[in-house]
């Protein structure tokens, strides 16, 4: 028993928020009975009596992020089940309480508030879209609520957030983009034209990649920002300089398939090397009709969607647990492609939370224990590839609350993505831009 007192239940709280969590509770309790007097008896008896560790899962269940939210939820439930089946966190089963942030920053902030005041969770975890993180993190900081995001944005590492907000499970966009430059310069070419949507998302790529490629002796010949409302791209392709060696594209939105089609019509077989970010086609089957032109082009992937010839045991384990086949699609529907380059962050973050809670001696949702949890997270240095971190090794920089991991460059071949390069973690690391550890707790 790790707590002496059961917190009073709030009248708006769920009986149990997720089926997976319930099953986990049952498994933990059942485990104690089944084990009887076997070694570990005492530990399991403690587990069965332990109060759940409440994790508030801030999820994009509705709104523009719902397609991502579905796979975040599935991955999260798979990890929670495994953790609970293996005895929980510090002997306590996870009780996951899912609240929908509507992919909205104001609602995100309200959800963080609900987690703290209504559900009285120990930890808040989850959300992806940066504007929701930006809207929610300040409230988490005010409430002194440890808030672990899986967002990929540079907002955490930039110093814009606070002592209680972490991004330990997924590399940020600055590192992802920067780490592409060495291989592109060395293998595809040094004369680059960048075609990107004309707003903040595109500017991240423009700024981080331009700086990184110049360090490699490369040169951006032309920047082609495309207005966000554009749905036909034919007038932009003639603006690409003819001596371009690499066309770097990060088009997104409903026009993306049109973009690929028109790019194919413009170039035919005589084209420069083409490099893109899988964000453009996350959850889209690469073998879709109309995407044939992409054959032979390259994509960044955070985590290879297609099982590779040298697939790790950890990747096999992770795919099986989440229910994803070797093509990155659901085991139940081979056309239901996962958001494979993002959702692993939920899995890994939950294992990091586990490690941090256990290392900190966290007991209950008190300010003192939450401070200990923050400090224990900041003290972490990184993680080794394995079932808990199937995407690969990571380093963690406590000052900026951000992890750094390997990235992948894959070539489209026969309607699949084949990894041709795995970056070094050092390819994407940068000097810390802040030091959260100096902020008051």
């Amino acid at each position: 028993m790790t707590r002496s007192k059961t917190p009073k239940s709030n009248n708006q709280k769920s009986l149990i928020s997720r089926r997976a969590a319930l099953k986990g509770l049952g498994a933990v309790a059942g485990g104690s009975a089944a084990l009887g007097l076997a070694p570990g008896f005492v530990r399991y008896i403690q587990v069965s009596a332990a109060e759940p560790l409440k994790i508030g899962f801030q999820a994009h269940r509705t709104g523009i992020g719902a397609a991502y939210g579905r796979w975040y939820e599935r991955t999260t439930n798979a990890a929670v089940k495994l953790i609970n089946d293996a005895g929980g966190i510090a002997g306590r089963p996870i009780q996951l309480i899912t609240e929908d942030d509507g992919t909205d920053p104001k609602r995100g902030s309200e959800v963080v508030e609900k987690f703290a005041s209504q559900h009285k969770v120990d930890i808040t975890f989850g959300t992806l879209f940066s504007h929701v993180v930006m809207g929610s993190a300040p409230r988490a900081g005010e409430l002194k609520m440890p808030y672990y995001v899986v967002s990929e944005g540079h907002h955490v590492a930039s110093g814009a957030l606070n002592r209680y907000t972490f991004q330990p499970g997924i590399t940020d966009v600055k590192a992802q983009v920067s780490s592409m430059a060495p291989w592109i310069a060395g293998n595809l070419g040094k004369k680059i034209t960048m075609i990107f949507p004309d707003y903040a998302f595109g500017y991240d790529h423009r700024d981080y990649f331009s700086a990184a490629i110049e360090k490699q002796g490369g040169q951006v010949l032309k920047l082609l920002p495309i207005p966000a409302t554009e749905t036909s791209y034919t007038k932009y392709f003639p603006q690409i300089p003819s001596d371009t060696e690499v066309l770097y594209h990060v088009m997104v939105g409903p026009g993306v398939l049109t973009f690929v089609k028109e790019m194919g019509e413009f170039y035919g077989s005589n084209r420069p090397q083409i490099f893109g970010f899988i964000d453009s086609l996350e959850a889209v089957d690469i073998a879709s009709p109309g995407l044939e032109f992409l054959d032979g082009t390259y994509f960044w992937e955070a985590y290879p969607r297609y099982a590779q010839a040298n697939q790790s045991e950890a990747d096999k384990f992770y795919r099986a647990a989440v229910g994803v086949d070797n093509n990155g699609a659901s085991l139940e529907d081979s056309k239901d492609v996962a958001t494979y380059s993002h959702m692993f962050g939920c899995w890994e973050t939950l294992y990091i939370i586990k490690e941090a809670v256990e290392a900190s001696g966290y007991q209950s949702a008190t300010a003192a224990d939450k401070k200990k949890l923050v400090e224990a997270t900041e003290a972490m240095k990184g993680w080794k590839e394995g079932n808990e971190h199937p995407q690969g090794d990571k380093t963690f920089v406590g000052q900026i609350h951000q992890c750094f991991g390997h990235q992948f460059i894959s070539k489209v071949a026969g309607g699949k993505l084949e990894v041709v390069h795995k970056t070094e973690i050092a390819d994407g690391t940068y000097e810390p831009e802040t030091d959260y550890t100096k902020m008051a707790l």
Partner: protein, 471 residues
């Protein structure tokens, strides 16, 4: 828009998929759906749809009036069927509502795991509306408020009712605002609270003005479903105790027999169409651009609450003005001296099939996705793992929105819904005009403006479904 420029510049990579048109409150759609639709020859569909509606108008005009009347009066009697006791069915419905409300408060907080939002937004608002347009008035039995009200014997000494359809309009406007503009209409507890408030208001209204008056003109959903039910080919009338005589009619035929609606009734009908149209419009790049929002960086509902509140009412106003102007111009062209409002009130019935066509087309994808969640949540309302629910959750798929064949099929169904709704509308308007005894030329002149509006609205509906959309 939230945050400073610097914050905004940190928008993360995965917004790629974020252009999902969350096409309705039970929000779910998929960016790739629109991406595939943009590759389809949607221009031809727009043209074809408009021609089909215009052609229907011309064909109806060309047919001899007497033959058309005879043909449209055709009915196929299906026989008498025993129907449930209305009070008993309503009590059962109320009991289900209580279970759902309980789940709203104590069940899962996840709106895709809690049966309350899934039942309300998916099964009831989308599914039941379509069911009414096919099978007639089911709400007569499913209304959860009538049974308890009768059981409590509250129907005494009602006040005279002179409020027209205004309470229903206020209710529908509030409902549409909650669905389309409110920050969290899917939050199970928020929704439960809204339903409880509406239930209390309904009972107060029924107690003050009597059940009959309140449910026929003031209670939004009884009014809505009873009007929509008149589109259905399956109609029935009381035959004997506990028996109803069922018959098949031409779709929309029962609308022709509807007594002309008062002005407030006309406005109610127009609001049914404006609300669903605005749901589509508010997601388009056009609307977002008009309001200075980058459609690829949709900031969330909280940033568009004011503009969408105004937009919802404004579209209702524009649609209302257009409809009434068409009636007025038609009346002037035909040189008619009939009073204006009864004519508008009779022709307003023709808007209802368009509303349902829009409802079907706009919410089809949401229904296909969230219907899967609803099937699980309803068999495990308190998320206790009943009926192997956890494993069934894994079988939920949205793949039909992310490959060309699925999207093409859905697009065709949506386009068909819009076009068929408009063709029924043209038929209803024509039969209403014929019933007034107009000759061919008078019919042509009086109806032509409304027919033009319907052709334009067909184009608008298909455009809404095919234009780039976000958030």
């Amino acid at each position: 828009m939230r945050g400073d420029a610097r914050g905004s510049a940190r928008w993360s990579a995965p917004c790629a998929l974020g252009f999902v048109a969350a096409s309705t409150t039970p929000a779910f759609a998929h960016t790739t759906e629109r991406a595939f639709i943009l590759l389809l020859p949607t221009g031809y569909y727009l043209l074809g749809g408009a021609l089909a509606v215009a052609g229907s108008f011309m064909i109806l005009l060309a047919l001899p009036a007497e033959r058309l009347k005879r043909w449209s009066d055709a009915r196929w009697t299906l026989g008498r069927l025993r129907v449930p006791n209305e009070t008993g069915a309503s009590l059962a419905s109320f009991a289900i509502l209580v279970v759902l409300l309980t789940a709203g408060y104590v069940g899962s907080r996840d709106p895709l795991d809690n049966p309350l939002p899934l039942t309300v937004w998916t099964i009831w608002w989308i599914g039941l509306t379509i069911a009414h347009a096919l099978f007639g008035n089911l709400w007569r039995y499913l209304n959860p408020w009538a049974g308890p009200f009768r059981l409590l014997g509250l129907r005494k000494a009602p006040l005279p009712y002179h409020l027209g359809y205004w309470p229903a309009i206020i209710g529908l406007l509030a409902f549409a605002w909650f669905e389309l503009v409110h920050l969290a209409p899917n939050d199970p507890a928020v929704l439960a609270q809204a339903i409880i408030l509406y239930t209390i208001a309904t009972w107060i209204g029924m107690a003050l003005f009597g059940e009959e008056a309140w449910l026929s003109r003031a209670e939004t959903f009884s009014v809505f479903f009873s009007l929509i039910a008149r589109i259905a080919p399956l109609q029935s009338e009381p035959a004997a105790t506990a028996l109803r005589q069922f018959k098949l009619l031409i779709p929309g035929r029962a609308l022709v027999d509807l007594a002309p609606l008062p002005p407030s009734g006309v406005l109610f009908v127009l609001l049914t169409l404006a609300a669903v149209s605005f749901d589509g419009l508010s997601k388009t790049f056009w609307w977002l651009g008009l309001n200075g929002i980058n459609p690829l960086e949709f900031p969330g509902r909280s940033a568009v609450m004011s503009v969408n509140s105004i937009g919802l009412v404004a579209l209702w106003g524009v649609l209302g003005a257009a409809f009434l102007a068409c009636i007025w111009i038609g009346r002037a062209l035909a040189g008619s001296r009939d009073p204006f409002w009864p004519r508008a009130g009779a022709l307003a019935a023709s808007i209802l099939p368009i509303s349902v066509g829009y409802q079907f087309a706009h919410y089809l994808t949401a229904f296909l996705v969230n219907g899967q969640y609803a099937a699980i949540a309803l068999t495990d309302p308190f998320a206790l793992g009943w009926f192997n629910s956890e494993e069934r959750m894994h079988r939920i798929t949205t793949s039909f929105l992310s490959h060309r064949a699925g999207v093409t099929l859905i697009w065709n169904l949506q386009a068909a819904g819009i076009v068929i709704g408009h063709i029924i509308a043209v038929l209803v308007a024509h039969l209403v005009t014929l019933r007034a005894g107009a000759d061919r030329m008078t019919t042509l002149l009086s109806q032509a403006p409304l027919a033009v509006l319907m052709v334009a609205y067909t184009l608008f509906g298909l455009w809404l479904l095919s234009t780039p959309a976000a958030g």
